[in-house]
Symmetry: C2
Subunit: 237 residues, 2 copies
């Protein structure tokens, strides 16, 4: 494989991962819309997305493995491919989160509507925003933007904690609303996990981008230094 | 690096992963013991384990990356190292699960003891057993044993679903027990996730072991075939 063909393959891999990210983000948005308007037909769409996401995860994993096996890439390219493998796994779990939320919506079907002390659409939009920003950081190889995702996670965590306290309080004081409160609590927890996956993705972006600078640090082992002298690739800019 | 030194490094990597697995398994057992006897001093041990697990996760990741960068291993060795990277991430999340459970124990400290319709120690022992078996399959490169872990996951899933139904019922009918029931439900969910991680590990073992056979299949691309002719390593036996 020529260097040019190799770089085209890396671009294809990146392209596939972006499709995967789009599917995962859309799945979360659909799941929250299904929750908001209680529409089971949207839940069906989420289930179908999840299957597509699982298929694409395997495809990306295989493409990454093939590149590692055929090309034995060095330094920045190696780190890029490893980051893709990790981000891929996190996106698949974002899809799982969407599926969990839509499963909750199905169980809500026969419950009365309750006014609960929690703003799930807002929490969902924060979590989705983190996924989007982490992927943006990946596209632009921007470690600073990835860093900003890490701080957003605190906001989602504290929303989740607050929701947990207020919904547990509803359960303890208004028994008849316990099923709805429990459902809302589980949805919050799924969203908090989506935010965790966005955080993992951001950390992987930092790991990958920082790899471009690692050879400038004094701590690099002499043995490794040689393999880190590969030219910085196009996709790292 | 000579071939012998390379194999020694692979063994070191495997050894580190087994230490990681031991820590993760111990963390789950301690968290459940803390839950069972409501002992906050055990929760402190779990928190300390979690920090050790996180440190070791980074160390293993770096060692795996160094091996990939320095050795550009092929075929079975490449798949082995990738499996280590993935299993490592799952073990770290098992540690997170233990931490979540011990956080629950802390919130239980001021709650009255309640007799709940759920057997958490049994569910914990099933989930731990899955982690142990998945690691055993890894040590012995035994795809069949890994396959048996996958079927155990169904048992944990159905225990979790049953616990969810019965605990939600407690919440809806005995308001004063809602806090305890909610805590138990969250612990079940954490255990169900531990079982999911054991399942992921088992799948990674299958992926790695099956790699040893991939060249016997007709579907291998001619380009890849060369790189798959590396001798099957000692650690794959």
């Amino acid at each position: 494989m020529t260097r040019i063909r190799f770089h085209r393959s890396l671009d294809d891999l990146k392209e596939k991962l972006l499709v995967m990210a789009g599917l995962a983000e859309q799945a979360i948005q659909r799941a929250i819309e299904a929750y908001r308007v209680r529409d089971l037909s949207i839940c069906d769409l989420v289930s179908r997305s999840e299957m597509a996401i699982n298929r694409l995860e395997r495809e990306i994993d295989q493409a990454a493995l093939d590149l590692l096996a055929m090309e034995q890439p060095m330094a920045i390219d190696l780190r890029f491919i490893l980051a893709v493998i990790k981000i891929n796994a996190d996106l698949e779990r974002v899809g799982d989160g969407a599926k969990s939320i839509s499963d909750r919506v199905r169980t809500m079907d026969n419950m009365a509507i309750a006014d609960l002390p929690v703003d799930i659409p807002r929490m969902a939009s924060l979590a989705s925003n983190m996924v989007r920003k982490a992927l943006q950081a990946f596209i632009e190889a921007d470690a600073e933007m990835a860093q900003s995702v890490l701080s957003l996670d605190d906001a989602v965590d504290s929303m989740n904690r607050a929701a947990h306290v207020s919904l547990a309080n509803v359960m303890a004081t208004q028994c008849h609303l316990a099923p709805q409160a429990l459902n809302a609590l589980m949805v919050c927890r799924s969203l908090e996990r989506v935010a965790d996956h966005a955080t993992n993705i951001a950390e992987d972006v930092i790991f990958w981008v920082k790899g471009a600078d690692v050879r400038h640090k004094g701590s690099v082992d002499a043995d490794v230094a040689g393999s880190l002298e590969a030219p910085v690739s196009r996709h790292a800019n």
